[in-house]
Symmetry: C2
Subunit: 209 residues, 2 copies
């Protein structure tokens, strides 16, 4: 499905990057070990500049400690699959199953991209979205980006993480030369996507086996 579980009736949970850096022991006690946390990595590596950091050549917003980055194998243990379960029925995946599908998608290079946002305190994945790039013959061998599976954790809604995910995916589509990006969503999410710069187009039809 396209983008179905998003930010409504959510309570903002602002995170403060300075507080995270200043009292890591407290975080370590309250959540996963700090050495596993992306925020800790960023602080140690000192690669936060002007509210952004650069990782693997991609620019990620990082104003409040919630950074958008590409899906990693380690996200299997950070609640990525469980997060998708808030969008669509999803059984648990073994490490091997996850790794196999991950490898298939990575082999597609920039034609398939999954991004995540990790909570800097809990070190759990709290938002994700994916895009695949379709190569066409029309419009002079054009490309179209298809956004899929956008979901924000119920406990992290109201932080505009969905906007960041969608913006990241749209930016990816633009960088790969797409002339447009499309997605399908429930009617009640029209307004959210309109705020992200999308306009309503056609209707979606589905055939189930």
């Amino acid at each position: 499905m396209g983008s179905e579980a998003l930010l409504t009736n959510a309570i903002p949970k602002p995170q403060n990057i300075e507080n995270v850096a200043a009292d890591s022991s407290q975080i370590s006690e309250n959540g996963p070990p700090i050495q596993n946390c992306i925020m800790h990595q960023l602080i140690v590596q000192g690669n936060i500049q002007n509210g952004h950091h650069i990782e693997n050549g991609s620019l990620h917003e990082n104003a409040d400690g919630f950074s958008v980055r590409r899906l990693q194998l380690s996200d299997h243990k950070k609640g990525f699959v469980e997060l998708l379960g808030q969008l669509s029925p999803t059984r648990p995946l073994s490490q091997e199953e996850f790794q196999e599908r991950f490898a298939e998608l990575v082999s597609m290079g920039p034609d398939h991209h999954i991004c995540v946002i990790e909570d800097p305190v809990s070190c759990q994945v709290v938002a994700t979205g994916s895009i695949f790039i379709e190569r066409k013959f029309i419009r002079g061998c054009s490309k179209v980006g298809h956004i899929e599976d956008v979901v924000v954790d119920k406990g992290a809604r109201g932080l505009r993480l969905g906007h960041r995910v969608v913006k990241h995916l749209v930016d990816h589509a633009k960088a790969t030369g797409c002339y447009k990006v499309v997605l399908y969503c429930k009617p009640e999410l029209r307004e959210f996507y309109q705020k992200c710069g999308f306009m309503e187009k056609n209707v979606q039809m589905a055939f189930y086996f």
Copy 2:
């Protein structure tokens, strides 16, 4: 775009397989050389059985001489790109451009499939549709088929060629293990796709660069 140009207000143009076989010289005079025509190939190879033929391991309907087959490089000279122009703005492609995109898509194996229907008399491509298979993590590493760019030539509408194209693509999705197939279309095509077994689902949103 999904599936936009289809069979409305069309005049049926029945083709008779026996006539084609019986007077090939006439066809040769009125259209492209008969040796380039798929009908001629089928007759010579004698692989028409019970209204179907098998090519490259795929079953194609062939009751009236209009067979569904996979896109071939030679379709560049059979009006394939011009046919797509009835769906979306499409400039002419050079042989090299066509070949390059063709090779990219073929390298995806069954994860990308374009089918065409060739007119057995004119030997021109008169219908086409494509599908790409998206690999997901949800639903136990499931797959979803995405149908795109379904179009039937204005002069060949009313022959149910659109139904054949869609059925072929749905069959392909099923064969590759998809749990569903989706597409988006203009609201006026709802009924056509409902007759093909689809049900209306969500709304499509688009972002243009």
